[in-house]
Homo-oligomer: 121 residues x 2
Amino acid sequence: MERIAEGEYAVMEVLWERSPLTAAEVAARVPEERGWSLATVKTMLSRLLAKGALAHEEEGRRYLYRPAIRREDYVAEESGRLLDRMFGGRLTPLVAHLAERDRLSAADIEEIEALLKALKS
Amino acid sequence: MERIAEGEYAVMEVLWERSPLTAAEVAARVPEERGWSLATVKTMLSRLLAKGALAHEEEGRRYLYRPAIRREDYVAEESGRLLDRMFGGRLTPLVAHLAERDRLSAADIEEIEALLKALKS
DNA sequence: AAACCATGACTACATCTGTAATCAGTCTTG
DNA sequence: CAAGACTGATTACAGATGTAGTCATGGTTT
């Protein structure tokens, strides 16, 4: 599975959210902040097709695009990569780190505790 | 703070581990697997200097390099970025995700529970 | 039919990255 | 001092990425 670049990821998000879509529809759903032209979105679509991250089916004279890889899998790979690189693959240091950085509220803690309890059973 | 590329990160790791170091010393400590020549390491060092991620002091006719950003901060930024992009900024889904993917052993769970308990007090 | 519009394919181009080689000094060593 | 060795600076170059523009073709509207 080839690497998906940051910008391409925005396109994947759109299609994971809803698919299949035409190029124009994808462009309409890409976050405003990107400020992309339709041409740019089309380039992204082509590259993602080439990488095998998307599939397309013809619908008349145009294409309908849909993801060819699951968001699940992509997310797993990326978070695994981060974990390995920065925390020696261990989740505990990440949690500790985020807690220190105030990325973890009391409610979060409760929630994670509940999750862990469930996992143990 | 400019983005640090994957390859450059390997150099930062070396210097976070121990610094200051000369270019040659850094090269000697970069993981074998990279198979980098000294020239490559020097390029990385220059680019990191330009990005402001490293600082150097002259030591005779050569430089001693040292990090100009804290590993802490870099790691915080990167993990925050991942969390925001993939999990809406929430840690719980990430933990749940990793658990599902068997990235979480029973021992890990114990450990995190202990950590959370400590955090609450 | 003529003019127009939408679409994918192809082309463009600057910047970033990975991966060096080469060059111009300075230090060392014979 | 001459020949190397070592160092940062400069240059190289291919592939990835961000960000489009252009072109050919086939459908649409008057």
